[in-house]
Protein backbone atom coordinates (compact mmCIF):
# COMPACT_ATOMS: atom_id res chain seq x y z
CA UNK A 1 0.00 0.00 0.00
CA UNK A 2 1.40 3.39 -0.92
CA UNK A 3 2.20 5.89 1.78
CA UNK A 4 -0.12 8.38 0.10
CA UNK A 5 -3.00 5.94 0.20
CA UNK A 6 -2.27 5.16 3.83
CA UNK A 7 -2.34 8.87 4.63
CA UNK A 8 -5.61 9.28 2.76
CA UNK A 9 -7.12 6.44 4.73
CA UNK A 10 -5.88 7.91 7.97
CA UNK A 11 -7.37 11.26 7.00
CA UNK A 12 -10.66 9.55 6.19
CA UNK A 13 -10.64 7.94 9.61
CA UNK A 14 -10.12 11.36 11.18
CA UNK A 15 -12.78 12.88 8.92
CA UNK A 16 -10.16 15.17 7.52
CA UNK A 17 -10.23 13.73 4.03
CA UNK A 18 -11.82 15.78 1.31
CA UNK A 19 -14.40 14.24 -1.02
CA UNK A 20 -11.73 13.32 -3.56
CA UNK A 21 -9.56 11.53 -1.02
CA UNK A 22 -12.51 9.68 0.44
CA UNK A 23 -13.65 8.63 -3.02
CA UNK A 24 -10.16 7.41 -3.78
CA UNK A 25 -9.96 5.34 -0.62
CA UNK A 26 -13.34 3.78 -1.27
CA UNK A 27 -12.56 3.01 -4.91
CA UNK A 28 -9.22 1.53 -3.96
CA UNK A 29 -10.79 -0.54 -1.21
CA UNK A 30 -13.01 -2.28 -3.71
CA UNK A 31 -9.97 -3.73 -5.41
CA UNK A 32 -7.47 -3.90 -2.57
CA UNK A 33 -7.98 -6.55 0.10
CA UNK A 34 -4.99 -5.31 2.08
CA UNK A 35 -6.53 -1.87 2.30
CA UNK A 36 -9.84 -3.29 3.48
CA UNK A 37 -8.10 -5.24 6.22
CA UNK A 38 -6.11 -2.18 7.23
CA UNK A 39 -9.27 -0.08 7.31
CA UNK A 40 -10.91 -2.72 9.45
CA UNK A 41 -7.98 -2.83 11.86
CA UNK A 42 -7.99 0.94 12.21
CA UNK A 43 -11.63 0.87 13.19
CA UNK A 44 -11.12 -1.90 15.67
CA UNK A 45 -8.27 0.05 17.22
CA UNK A 46 -10.24 3.23 17.37
CA UNK A 47 -13.33 1.61 18.80
CA UNK A 48 -11.25 -0.33 21.24
CA UNK A 49 -9.66 2.80 22.64
CA UNK A 50 -12.85 4.80 22.69
CA UNK A 51 -15.35 2.24 23.82
CA UNK A 52 -14.54 0.62 27.16
CA UNK A 53 -17.60 -1.59 26.74
CA UNK A 54 -15.88 -3.68 24.11
CA UNK A 55 -14.40 -6.77 25.66
CA UNK A 56 -10.86 -7.11 24.49
CA UNK A 57 -7.86 -8.16 26.47
CA UNK A 58 -6.09 -5.50 28.46
CA UNK A 59 -2.85 -6.49 26.73
CA UNK A 60 -4.32 -5.56 23.38
CA UNK A 61 -5.37 -2.19 24.70
CA UNK A 62 -1.91 -1.65 26.11
CA UNK A 63 -0.31 -2.53 22.79
CA UNK A 64 -2.45 0.00 21.02
CA UNK A 65 -1.73 2.66 23.60
CA UNK A 66 1.97 2.00 23.24
CA UNK A 67 1.77 2.28 19.49
CA UNK A 68 0.02 5.59 19.79
CA UNK A 69 2.32 6.99 22.44
CA UNK A 70 5.65 5.84 21.08
CA UNK A 71 5.87 6.89 17.45
CA UNK A 72 9.41 5.52 17.12
CA UNK A 73 8.03 2.03 17.61
CA UNK A 74 5.31 2.57 15.10
CA UNK A 75 6.45 -0.02 12.57
CA UNK A 76 7.17 -2.73 15.10
CA UNK A 77 4.13 -1.95 17.19
CA UNK A 78 1.92 -1.95 14.17
CA UNK A 79 3.14 -5.38 13.19
CA UNK A 80 2.36 -6.60 16.70
CA UNK A 81 -1.06 -5.11 16.45
CA UNK A 82 -1.72 -6.69 13.10
CA UNK A 83 -0.86 -10.04 14.62
CA UNK A 84 -2.94 -9.34 17.68
CA UNK A 85 -5.89 -8.19 15.66
CA UNK A 86 -5.63 -10.92 13.06
CA UNK A 87 -8.00 -13.24 14.93
CA UNK A 88 -10.57 -10.51 14.79
CA UNK A 89 -10.29 -9.83 11.11
CA UNK A 90 -10.38 -13.28 9.56
CA UNK A 91 -13.90 -14.60 9.12
CA UNK A 92 -13.85 -17.85 11.17
CA UNK A 93 -12.25 -16.31 14.22
CA UNK A 94 -14.18 -13.13 13.85
CA UNK A 95 -17.37 -15.12 14.03
CA UNK A 96 -16.12 -16.68 17.24
CA UNK A 97 -15.27 -13.28 18.62
CA UNK A 98 -18.65 -11.93 17.65
CA UNK A 99 -20.30 -14.82 19.39
CA UNK A 100 -18.32 -14.02 22.52
CA UNK A 101 -19.62 -10.49 22.68
CA UNK A 102 -23.14 -11.61 22.07
CA UNK A 103 -23.11 -10.90 18.37
CA UNK A 104 -23.86 -7.29 19.09
CA UNK A 105 -20.75 -5.36 18.42
CA UNK A 106 -21.15 -5.86 14.72
CA UNK A 107 -22.26 -2.44 13.67
CA UNK A 108 -21.93 -0.87 17.07
CA UNK A 109 -18.26 -1.30 17.63
CA UNK A 110 -16.45 -2.64 14.68
CA UNK A 111 -18.34 -2.89 11.45
CA UNK A 112 -18.00 0.07 9.17
CA UNK A 113 -20.58 0.79 6.56
CA UNK A 114 -20.06 3.84 4.44
CA UNK A 115 -22.34 4.65 1.58
CA UNK A 116 -21.42 7.66 -0.43
CA UNK A 117 -23.27 8.61 -3.55
CA UNK A 118 -24.55 5.12 -4.00
CA UNK A 119 -21.22 3.41 -3.38
CA UNK A 120 -21.11 0.86 -0.61
CA UNK A 121 -18.15 -0.14 1.51
CA UNK A 122 -19.09 -2.82 3.95
CA UNK A 123 -16.38 -4.70 5.79
CA UNK A 124 -18.46 -6.87 8.00
CA UNK A 125 -21.43 -9.12 8.08
CA UNK A 126 -24.11 -9.24 10.69
CA UNK A 127 -24.80 -12.71 12.04
CA UNK A 128 -28.33 -11.61 12.78
CA UNK A 129 -28.93 -10.87 9.14
CA UNK A 130 -27.39 -14.16 8.18
CA UNK A 131 -29.72 -16.00 10.51
CA UNK A 132 -32.66 -14.18 9.04
CA UNK A 133 -31.42 -14.78 5.51
CA UNK A 134 -31.56 -11.05 5.14
CA UNK A 135 -28.27 -10.14 3.62
CA UNK A 136 -26.26 -7.03 4.24
CA UNK A 137 -25.10 -5.45 1.00
CA UNK A 138 -21.54 -6.21 0.11
CA UNK A 139 -19.01 -4.64 -2.17
CA UNK A 140 -20.09 -6.97 -4.91
CA UNK A 141 -23.60 -5.62 -4.74
CA UNK A 142 -22.73 -2.00 -5.30
CA UNK A 143 -23.57 -1.98 -8.97
CA UNK A 144 -27.11 -3.05 -8.10
CA UNK A 145 -27.57 -0.14 -5.79
CA UNK A 146 -27.13 2.63 -8.30
CA UNK A 147 -30.80 3.49 -8.10
CA UNK A 148 -31.16 2.69 -4.43
CA UNK A 149 -31.88 5.28 -1.74
CA UNK A 150 -28.75 6.88 -0.41
CA UNK A 151 -27.53 6.85 3.15
CA UNK A 152 -26.05 10.29 3.54
CA UNK A 153 -23.32 11.22 5.96
CA UNK A 154 -24.76 14.63 6.69
CA UNK A 155 -28.05 14.89 8.53
CA UNK A 156 -30.58 17.21 6.95
CA UNK A 157 -33.32 19.14 8.71
CA UNK A 158 -35.73 16.50 7.48
CA UNK A 159 -33.66 13.77 9.12
CA UNK A 160 -33.58 15.68 12.39
CA UNK A 161 -37.31 16.29 12.25
CA UNK A 162 -37.99 12.62 11.65
CA UNK A 163 -35.86 11.62 14.62
CA UNK A 164 -37.41 14.30 16.82
CA UNK A 165 -40.89 13.11 15.94
CA UNK A 166 -40.03 9.56 16.95
CA UNK A 167 -38.44 10.85 20.15
CA UNK A 168 -41.69 12.65 20.91
CA UNK A 169 -43.72 9.52 20.19
CA UNK A 170 -41.58 7.52 22.62
CA UNK A 171 -41.90 10.18 25.31
CA UNK A 172 -45.67 10.28 24.87
CA UNK A 173 -45.92 6.52 24.97
CA UNK A 174 -43.90 6.38 28.14
CA UNK A 175 -45.75 9.23 29.80
CA UNK A 176 -49.13 7.68 29.09
CA UNK A 177 -48.05 4.41 30.59
CA UNK A 178 -46.44 5.82 33.69
CA UNK A 179 -49.11 8.48 34.17
CA UNK A 180 -47.38 10.37 36.94
CA UNK A 181 -46.19 13.89 37.41
CA UNK A 182 -42.58 13.09 36.64
CA UNK A 183 -43.44 11.11 33.53
CA UNK A 184 -45.23 14.10 31.98
CA UNK A 185 -42.38 16.51 32.58
CA UNK A 186 -40.54 15.51 29.41
CA UNK A 187 -43.66 15.90 27.37
CA UNK A 188 -44.42 19.35 28.76
CA UNK A 189 -40.86 20.53 28.24
CA UNK A 190 -40.13 18.89 24.89
CA UNK A 191 -38.27 21.50 22.91
CA UNK A 192 -38.34 20.93 19.19
CA UNK A 193 -35.58 23.47 18.67
CA UNK A 194 -33.06 22.12 21.11
CA UNK A 195 -33.75 18.44 20.81
CA UNK A 196 -31.48 18.05 17.85
CA UNK A 197 -27.83 18.34 18.81
CA UNK A 198 -27.42 15.86 16.03
CA UNK A 199 -24.23 14.38 14.79
CA UNK A 200 -23.76 11.93 12.00
CA UNK A 201 -23.41 8.36 13.03
CA UNK A 202 -19.81 8.20 11.97
CA UNK A 203 -18.88 11.23 14.00
CA UNK A 204 -20.64 9.71 16.95
CA UNK A 205 -18.35 6.72 16.83
CA UNK A 206 -15.44 8.90 17.77
Amino acid sequence: MSEQLRESMSAAMDEEADAFELRRVLDEAKENGELREQWHRFHIMRDLMQNPDLRYSNQLRENIKRALQEPQLEGEAEEELILALAPLTTPPQRKKWLARVGGTAVAAGVAMLVIVNGGVFDVNESPEFAQAQFETPTLGATQNLAAAPVLYQQATELDKQRQNALMLRHIQQRAMNQASMTSFVKLATFDTATTAPTVSDDKARR
Binding site: H170, R174, Q178, T182
Partner: protein, 369 residues
Protein backbone atom coordinates in the same frame (compact mmCIF):
# COMPACT_ATOMS: atom_id res chain seq x y z
CA UNK B 1 -13.09 11.56 47.95
CA UNK B 2 -15.06 8.95 46.08
CA UNK B 3 -15.89 5.74 47.80
CA UNK B 4 -17.64 2.72 46.46
CA UNK B 5 -20.96 1.48 47.58
CA UNK B 6 -20.39 -1.91 49.11
CA UNK B 7 -23.60 -2.72 50.78
CA UNK B 8 -26.57 -2.51 48.55
CA UNK B 9 -29.42 -4.86 48.73
CA UNK B 10 -31.30 -6.66 46.03
CA UNK B 11 -34.60 -5.35 44.94
CA UNK B 12 -36.39 -8.57 45.66
CA UNK B 13 -38.49 -6.90 48.30
CA UNK B 14 -39.60 -4.49 45.66
CA UNK B 15 -41.43 -7.21 43.83
CA UNK B 16 -44.28 -6.57 46.18
CA UNK B 17 -44.30 -2.86 45.72
CA UNK B 18 -46.46 -2.78 42.62
CA UNK B 19 -45.72 0.02 40.27
CA UNK B 20 -43.63 2.21 42.48
CA UNK B 21 -41.32 2.81 39.63
CA UNK B 22 -44.09 4.07 37.47
CA UNK B 23 -44.08 7.12 39.59
CA UNK B 24 -40.44 7.49 40.07
CA UNK B 25 -38.46 7.09 37.29
CA UNK B 26 -38.28 9.51 34.58
CA UNK B 27 -35.67 11.32 36.46
CA UNK B 28 -33.26 10.30 39.18
CA UNK B 29 -29.96 8.43 39.57
CA UNK B 30 -26.89 6.28 40.34
CA UNK B 31 -24.79 3.80 38.48
CA UNK B 32 -22.61 0.82 38.68
CA UNK B 33 -19.97 1.51 41.31
CA UNK B 34 -21.91 4.56 42.13
CA UNK B 35 -19.88 7.01 44.16
CA UNK B 36 -21.11 7.48 47.67
CA UNK B 37 -22.62 10.92 48.10
CA UNK B 38 -21.52 13.66 50.30
CA UNK B 39 -24.55 14.67 52.28
CA UNK B 40 -26.29 17.97 51.75
CA UNK B 41 -23.94 19.61 54.20
CA UNK B 42 -20.89 18.38 52.33
CA UNK B 43 -20.17 15.50 54.71
CA UNK B 44 -19.46 12.16 53.15
CA UNK B 45 -22.07 9.53 53.85
CA UNK B 46 -20.65 6.39 55.38
CA UNK B 47 -22.39 3.32 53.96
CA UNK B 48 -21.36 1.32 56.99
CA UNK B 49 -23.46 3.58 59.10
CA UNK B 50 -26.40 3.99 56.79
CA UNK B 51 -26.70 0.65 55.04
CA UNK B 52 -27.58 -1.65 57.81
CA UNK B 53 -30.01 -4.37 56.90
CA UNK B 54 -32.67 -2.52 58.78
CA UNK B 55 -32.11 0.62 56.74
CA UNK B 56 -32.09 -1.33 53.49
CA UNK B 57 -35.51 -2.73 54.22
CA UNK B 58 -36.61 0.72 55.22
CA UNK B 59 -35.46 2.02 51.83
CA UNK B 60 -37.65 -0.48 50.02
CA UNK B 61 -40.59 0.45 52.19
CA UNK B 62 -39.97 4.11 51.45
CA UNK B 63 -40.09 3.46 47.72
CA UNK B 64 -43.44 1.76 48.10
CA UNK B 65 -44.66 4.69 50.12
CA UNK B 66 -43.32 7.10 47.51
CA UNK B 67 -45.47 5.49 44.85
CA UNK B 68 -48.49 5.75 47.05
CA UNK B 69 -47.71 9.37 47.89
CA UNK B 70 -47.65 10.37 44.23
CA UNK B 71 -51.15 9.09 43.70
CA UNK B 72 -52.80 9.80 47.04
CA UNK B 73 -51.44 13.09 48.34
CA UNK B 74 -52.68 16.55 47.49
CA UNK B 75 -49.79 18.80 46.53
CA UNK B 76 -49.11 22.04 44.72
CA UNK B 77 -45.51 22.87 43.99
CA UNK B 78 -43.00 24.66 41.82
CA UNK B 79 -40.08 22.58 40.63
CA UNK B 80 -37.00 22.88 38.45
CA UNK B 81 -36.21 20.39 35.75
CA UNK B 82 -32.77 20.17 34.21
CA UNK B 83 -32.53 17.99 31.12
CA UNK B 84 -29.10 18.05 29.53
CA UNK B 85 -28.36 21.75 29.33
CA UNK B 86 -31.99 22.83 29.31
CA UNK B 87 -33.31 24.22 32.61
CA UNK B 88 -37.04 24.80 32.96
CA UNK B 89 -39.46 25.59 35.75
CA UNK B 90 -42.87 23.96 36.10
CA UNK B 91 -45.80 23.96 38.46
CA UNK B 92 -47.60 20.80 39.40
CA UNK B 93 -50.96 20.53 41.13
CA UNK B 94 -52.26 17.12 42.17
CA UNK B 95 -55.41 16.32 44.05
CA UNK B 96 -57.52 13.28 44.73
CA UNK B 97 -61.17 14.20 44.17
CA UNK B 98 -63.91 11.61 44.67
CA UNK B 99 -61.31 8.88 44.39
CA UNK B 100 -60.05 10.11 41.02
CA UNK B 101 -56.61 11.60 40.45
CA UNK B 102 -56.67 15.10 39.01
CA UNK B 103 -53.44 16.72 37.95
CA UNK B 104 -52.23 19.82 36.18
CA UNK B 105 -48.70 20.44 34.95
CA UNK B 106 -47.81 23.94 33.78
CA UNK B 107 -44.71 24.85 31.82
CA UNK B 108 -43.68 28.23 33.23
CA UNK B 109 -40.86 29.03 30.80
CA UNK B 110 -40.83 29.30 27.03
CA UNK B 111 -43.78 28.01 25.05
CA UNK B 112 -46.95 28.06 27.18
CA UNK B 113 -48.02 24.45 27.61
CA UNK B 114 -50.18 22.61 30.08
CA UNK B 115 -50.94 18.98 30.64
CA UNK B 116 -54.17 18.23 32.41
CA UNK B 117 -55.05 14.79 33.66
CA UNK B 118 -58.28 13.43 35.00
CA UNK B 119 -57.99 9.75 35.82
CA UNK B 120 -56.57 8.14 32.68
CA UNK B 121 -57.65 10.96 30.41
CA UNK B 122 -54.83 13.30 29.46
CA UNK B 123 -55.15 16.58 27.55
CA UNK B 124 -52.34 18.72 26.28
CA UNK B 125 -52.86 22.43 25.74
CA UNK B 126 -50.53 24.42 23.53
CA UNK B 127 -50.64 27.72 21.73
CA UNK B 128 -50.81 28.05 17.92
CA UNK B 129 -47.37 28.09 16.39
CA UNK B 130 -45.92 25.66 18.89
CA UNK B 131 -43.61 23.42 16.87
CA UNK B 132 -44.84 20.50 18.91
CA UNK B 133 -48.04 20.50 16.86
CA UNK B 134 -46.28 20.19 13.52
CA UNK B 135 -44.00 17.51 14.89
CA UNK B 136 -46.91 15.53 16.23
CA UNK B 137 -48.64 15.61 12.88
CA UNK B 138 -45.75 13.72 11.31
CA UNK B 139 -45.98 10.70 13.58
CA UNK B 140 -48.58 7.96 13.59
CA UNK B 141 -51.66 8.96 15.54
CA UNK B 142 -53.92 6.84 17.69
CA UNK B 143 -54.07 5.49 21.20
CA UNK B 144 -50.89 4.54 22.97
CA UNK B 145 -50.12 0.96 23.74
CA UNK B 146 -50.20 -0.20 27.32
CA UNK B 147 -46.62 -1.29 27.36
CA UNK B 148 -45.29 -1.35 30.87
CA UNK B 149 -46.05 -4.60 32.50
CA UNK B 150 -43.86 -4.53 35.60
CA UNK B 151 -41.71 -7.60 35.91
CA UNK B 152 -39.96 -7.36 39.21
CA UNK B 153 -38.35 -10.75 38.83
CA UNK B 154 -36.26 -9.30 36.00
CA UNK B 155 -35.69 -6.02 37.75
CA UNK B 156 -34.35 -7.70 40.85
CA UNK B 157 -31.52 -9.07 38.75
CA UNK B 158 -30.55 -5.73 37.27
CA UNK B 159 -30.88 -3.13 40.03
CA UNK B 160 -29.99 -2.79 43.69
CA UNK B 161 -31.28 -0.23 46.14
CA UNK B 162 -29.61 1.50 49.06
CA UNK B 163 -30.44 4.15 51.60
CA UNK B 164 -27.94 6.97 51.97
CA UNK B 165 -28.43 9.43 54.73
CA UNK B 166 -30.61 12.47 54.54
CA UNK B 167 -30.81 15.90 52.96
CA UNK B 168 -33.00 18.97 52.83
CA UNK B 169 -35.07 19.99 49.80
CA UNK B 170 -37.57 22.85 49.55
CA UNK B 171 -37.25 23.39 53.28
CA UNK B 172 -38.19 19.78 54.09
CA UNK B 173 -36.05 16.97 55.48
CA UNK B 174 -35.57 14.11 53.02
CA UNK B 175 -34.26 10.55 53.10
CA UNK B 176 -31.97 9.68 50.23
CA UNK B 177 -32.31 6.47 48.22
CA UNK B 178 -30.05 5.12 45.48
CA UNK B 179 -31.31 2.79 42.77
CA UNK B 180 -28.23 1.31 41.20
CA UNK B 181 -28.02 -0.79 38.03
CA UNK B 182 -25.79 -3.82 38.10
CA UNK B 183 -24.33 -3.25 34.64
CA UNK B 184 -23.48 -0.36 32.32
CA UNK B 185 -26.46 -0.79 30.00
CA UNK B 186 -28.85 1.41 31.98
CA UNK B 187 -28.80 4.44 34.21
CA UNK B 188 -29.27 4.68 37.94
CA UNK B 189 -31.25 7.02 40.13
CA UNK B 190 -30.86 9.07 43.29
CA UNK B 191 -34.03 9.96 45.09
CA UNK B 192 -34.80 12.36 47.94
CA UNK B 193 -38.03 11.37 49.67
CA UNK B 194 -39.89 13.62 52.08
CA UNK B 195 -39.47 12.22 55.60
CA UNK B 196 -43.01 13.14 56.58
CA UNK B 197 -44.98 12.06 53.51
CA UNK B 198 -42.54 10.01 51.33
CA UNK B 199 -43.27 12.32 48.39
CA UNK B 200 -40.42 12.55 45.91
CA UNK B 201 -38.76 15.92 46.48
CA UNK B 202 -35.77 15.53 44.21
CA UNK B 203 -34.44 12.98 41.77
CA UNK B 204 -31.35 12.69 39.64
CA UNK B 205 -30.42 10.46 36.77
CA UNK B 206 -26.69 9.87 36.57
CA UNK B 207 -24.57 8.22 33.93
CA UNK B 208 -21.72 5.83 34.46
CA UNK B 209 -19.22 8.61 34.86
CA UNK B 210 -21.25 10.23 37.61
CA UNK B 211 -22.62 13.05 35.44
CA UNK B 212 -26.18 14.07 36.22
CA UNK B 213 -28.20 13.86 33.03
CA UNK B 214 -31.49 14.96 34.50
CA UNK B 215 -32.46 16.65 37.73
CA UNK B 216 -35.94 17.19 39.07
CA UNK B 217 -36.25 19.24 42.27
CA UNK B 218 -39.05 20.94 44.13
CA UNK B 219 -38.32 24.54 45.07
CA UNK B 220 -41.60 25.21 46.79
CA UNK B 221 -44.27 22.80 47.97
CA UNK B 222 -47.68 22.99 49.60
CA UNK B 223 -49.40 19.88 50.87
CA UNK B 224 -52.79 18.69 52.01
CA UNK B 225 -55.68 21.06 52.55
CA UNK B 226 -53.65 24.02 51.32
CA UNK B 227 -54.20 22.79 47.76
CA UNK B 228 -57.30 24.37 46.28
CA UNK B 229 -59.52 22.79 43.64
CA UNK B 230 -59.32 25.94 41.52
CA UNK B 231 -55.60 25.37 41.05
CA UNK B 232 -56.50 22.43 38.79
CA UNK B 233 -58.28 24.62 36.25
CA UNK B 234 -56.17 25.09 33.12
CA UNK B 235 -55.39 28.65 32.08
CA UNK B 236 -56.62 28.28 28.52
CA UNK B 237 -56.12 31.33 26.36
CA UNK B 238 -57.84 32.37 23.17
CA UNK B 239 -56.78 30.16 20.24
CA UNK B 240 -55.12 27.61 22.50
CA UNK B 241 -55.28 24.15 21.04
CA UNK B 242 -56.17 21.07 23.00
CA UNK B 243 -55.25 17.54 22.02
CA UNK B 244 -56.22 14.40 23.84
CA UNK B 245 -53.90 11.51 24.46
CA UNK B 246 -55.47 8.14 25.06
CA UNK B 247 -54.36 4.70 26.06
CA UNK B 248 -55.52 1.67 24.18
CA UNK B 249 -57.88 -0.59 26.13
CA UNK B 250 -56.08 -2.99 28.38
CA UNK B 251 -55.18 -6.23 26.66
CA UNK B 252 -54.99 -9.58 28.30
CA UNK B 253 -51.45 -10.81 28.87
CA UNK B 254 -51.91 -13.50 26.22
CA UNK B 255 -53.06 -10.96 23.66
CA UNK B 256 -49.97 -8.82 24.33
CA UNK B 257 -47.84 -11.90 23.89
CA UNK B 258 -49.52 -12.68 20.59
CA UNK B 259 -48.97 -9.17 19.22
CA UNK B 260 -45.30 -9.17 20.12
CA UNK B 261 -44.83 -12.63 18.66
CA UNK B 262 -46.39 -11.57 15.39
CA UNK B 263 -44.01 -8.67 14.90
CA UNK B 264 -41.77 -9.17 11.90
CA UNK B 265 -38.97 -7.27 13.56
CA UNK B 266 -36.93 -7.94 16.64
CA UNK B 267 -33.73 -6.93 18.39
CA UNK B 268 -31.07 -9.57 17.96
CA UNK B 269 -29.40 -8.54 21.19
CA UNK B 270 -30.70 -6.99 24.39
CA UNK B 271 -29.02 -6.08 27.66
CA UNK B 272 -29.88 -8.48 30.49
CA UNK B 273 -33.32 -7.92 31.94
CA UNK B 274 -34.87 -6.19 28.93
CA UNK B 275 -37.80 -7.83 27.19
CA UNK B 276 -40.33 -6.74 24.61
CA UNK B 277 -43.27 -5.01 26.24
CA UNK B 278 -45.28 -4.06 23.16
CA UNK B 279 -45.27 -4.04 19.38
CA UNK B 280 -47.52 -2.45 16.81
CA UNK B 281 -47.76 -1.41 13.19
CA UNK B 282 -49.21 1.93 12.12
CA UNK B 283 -49.26 4.20 9.14
CA UNK B 284 -47.60 7.56 8.87
CA UNK B 285 -49.96 10.47 8.32
CA UNK B 286 -49.78 11.77 4.78
CA UNK B 287 -47.59 9.17 3.15
CA UNK B 288 -49.41 6.21 4.62
CA UNK B 289 -46.09 4.39 4.88
CA UNK B 290 -46.02 1.67 7.51
CA UNK B 291 -44.10 2.22 10.75
CA UNK B 292 -43.44 -0.74 12.97
CA UNK B 293 -42.63 -0.05 16.59
CA UNK B 294 -41.29 -2.23 19.34
CA UNK B 295 -41.00 -1.26 22.98
CA UNK B 296 -38.68 -2.92 25.46
CA UNK B 297 -38.43 -2.48 29.20
CA UNK B 298 -36.49 -3.91 32.10
CA UNK B 299 -39.25 -2.83 34.45
CA UNK B 300 -37.63 0.52 35.00
CA UNK B 301 -35.82 1.82 31.91
CA UNK B 302 -37.52 1.61 28.52
CA UNK B 303 -36.73 2.20 24.87
CA UNK B 304 -38.64 2.11 21.61
CA UNK B 305 -37.49 0.90 18.23
CA UNK B 306 -39.19 2.27 15.11
CA UNK B 307 -38.75 0.69 11.69
CA UNK B 308 -39.91 2.40 8.51
CA UNK B 309 -39.14 2.09 4.82
CA UNK B 310 -36.21 4.17 3.64
CA UNK B 311 -37.59 7.35 2.04
CA UNK B 312 -36.96 7.55 -1.67
CA UNK B 313 -34.94 10.74 -1.16
CA UNK B 314 -32.60 8.98 1.27
CA UNK B 315 -31.78 9.57 4.91
CA UNK B 316 -28.83 10.02 7.26
CA UNK B 317 -27.43 7.61 9.76
CA UNK B 318 -27.33 9.72 12.90
CA UNK B 319 -27.26 9.93 16.68
CA UNK B 320 -28.98 12.60 18.79
CA UNK B 321 -28.95 13.03 22.52
CA UNK B 322 -31.06 15.25 24.71
CA UNK B 323 -30.24 14.78 28.35
CA UNK B 324 -30.68 11.10 29.02
CA UNK B 325 -32.77 10.48 25.92
CA UNK B 326 -30.83 9.16 22.99
CA UNK B 327 -31.99 8.54 19.44
CA UNK B 328 -29.99 6.36 17.06
CA UNK B 329 -30.94 5.97 13.40
CA UNK B 330 -29.31 3.60 10.97
CA UNK B 331 -30.28 1.50 8.00
CA UNK B 332 -30.98 -2.13 7.44
CA UNK B 333 -30.34 -2.88 3.80
CA UNK B 334 -30.12 -5.96 1.76
CA UNK B 335 -31.87 -8.36 -0.48
CA UNK B 336 -35.21 -9.89 0.24
CA UNK B 337 -36.74 -12.29 -2.26
CA UNK B 338 -34.52 -10.91 -4.96
CA UNK B 339 -35.33 -7.24 -4.41
CA UNK B 340 -33.17 -4.56 -2.85
CA UNK B 341 -34.84 -3.37 0.32
CA UNK B 342 -33.86 -0.59 2.69
CA UNK B 343 -35.31 0.31 6.07
CA UNK B 344 -34.59 2.98 8.63
CA UNK B 345 -34.24 1.72 12.18
CA UNK B 346 -34.52 4.35 14.93
CA UNK B 347 -34.07 3.56 18.61
CA UNK B 348 -35.19 6.09 21.23
CA UNK B 349 -34.76 5.63 24.95
CA UNK B 350 -33.16 6.65 28.20
CA UNK B 351 -30.20 4.32 27.96
CA UNK B 352 -26.48 4.90 27.31
CA UNK B 353 -25.54 5.70 23.72
CA UNK B 354 -23.22 2.72 23.40
CA UNK B 355 -25.98 0.36 24.48
CA UNK B 356 -28.49 2.04 22.18
CA UNK B 357 -26.12 1.61 19.26
CA UNK B 358 -25.55 -2.04 20.01
CA UNK B 359 -29.24 -2.76 20.22
CA UNK B 360 -30.10 -0.76 17.09
CA UNK B 361 -27.40 -2.55 15.15
CA UNK B 362 -28.85 -5.91 16.06
CA UNK B 363 -32.38 -5.21 14.81
CA UNK B 364 -33.39 -7.63 12.10
CA UNK B 365 -36.42 -8.69 10.17
CA UNK B 366 -37.56 -12.23 10.58
CA UNK B 367 -38.06 -14.04 7.33
CA UNK B 368 -41.56 -15.26 6.79
CA UNK B 369 -41.67 -19.00 6.18
Amino acid sequence: MIRRVDKLFRVSTLRQCGSWLLATILIAGTLIHMPVWADDHGRETNPDDSNTQHDQKAAATLLQEMNAAFGQLNYDGIFSYLNGNQLTTLRVVHKLIDGQQRERLVHLNGAPREIVRSGEGVSRIVMPGDDLLALEESIPAGPFTRAFVPDFERMADTYTVGKFGQGRIAGRMATRIAVQPQDHHRYGYRLWLDQQTSLLLRSELVDQGGSRLEIFMFNQLRLGDEVEDSALTPATAKDSQISHLTLAPAMAAKAVELVTEQSQWAAGWLPPGFAMAAADNRQKPGSGLPVSSLMYSDGLAAFSIFIEPMPTYGAASMVSQNGATVAVTHTVSGQLKGDDVHFLVTLVGDIPVSTARQIAASVYRETTP
